[in-house]
Symmetry: C2
Amino acid sequence: MSDRKISQAVISRLPRYLRYLGDLKDEGVERISSHDLSLRMHVTASQIRQDFNHFGGFGQQGYGYNVDYLYEEIAKILGLNHKHTLVIIGAGNLGQALANYMNFERRGFIILGLFDKNPNLIGKSVRNMEIMDIREASDFIRKNEIEIAVLTLPKAGATEISKQLVDSGIRAIWNFAHVDLELPDSIVVENVHLSESLMKLSYKISQESGEEI
Amino acid sequence: MSDRKISQAVISRLPRYLRYLGDLKDEGVERISSHDLSLRMHVTASQIRQDFNHFGGFGQQGYGYNVDYLYEEIAKILGLNHKHTLVIIGAGNLGQALANYMNFERRGFIILGLFDKNPNLIGKSVRNMEIMDIREASDFIRKNEIEIAVLTLPKAGATEISKQLVDSGIRAIWNFAHVDLELPDSIVVENVHLSESLMKLSYKISQESGEEI
């Protein structure tokens, strides 16, 4: 079954299901009903069943879901059943923070290189990786067939560098630069615009304060 | 006019409008039509007009929007017309990266304190702020009437600490911990779950590869 037509909303919910299922696994729970899962996750059981029905349902009615099986199936849908290789472009604070974040590796996201243009950073060691000169990034990506580039750069250089990365064979960009990249449709882009998230927070605070606009 | 009933989808688009308007200001553009803005932003002019109509429209038909005015009005809706005070709870790599990120300050988000429980971090200086003992956080929040706590902690301690923060008077939590916080409805929570974003990226890569599930 292809899931090409599954809505973004459903897909967006899958990582959260995976997180709760991981917790259940850690607790040694083997089976869970949609009702019990709904209580934990504060969503309706009917939403859970509807979401899972997009993928064939995963479970037996009245018997509950097998936690291990459900976990593995959702991981597979999310492409977590094989390893992904990454480079980080921009080894400032955020780039280094992401490089040090072990959880990504546990999920199969393997960071193989870290690049910057700042001579003060090049050669410095982060988690046993030496920060390389950004001019070496293209060769490195080609040689190691890197799949994903993490863009943790200021806005100014991001657009131009994203094009070079794509020319070097990168298939996806996890973009933290505060700019909309314009790349071929075949390139996957996932944006994390932290400032925009903070603005949504401040909007909600205004609303809670009952401010009028 | 109150905007209590405006959909989350519209609100989510406001920071992006603000970013493009900021760019236009930087370029010295004084007026822009919904058509020209739509070409830049790759959305339809009708979407822009619809979005802006929720707030009274902002502009004259056929005459275009005044860029400065529109920028200020959207900033006001997002609660950016006054300063917000923050503390960062968890001064590891990500916490330090956020503390060092100057752009937040430019937007009026002022980081006043940085806390951790790790004795190796306490006393260390980050951007002229000394990392404080997390046990001092509650007092600090009360004394300085801090509005927002940034939670950059491992999952394990996050839930308990979030409750202490709320008891100390925090009104909003920008949550990077990989857990759903369960707090009173009056507390604003905005989640940034980086692992989930990375999973969405890997899902899209699987789709691009034409993999079947």
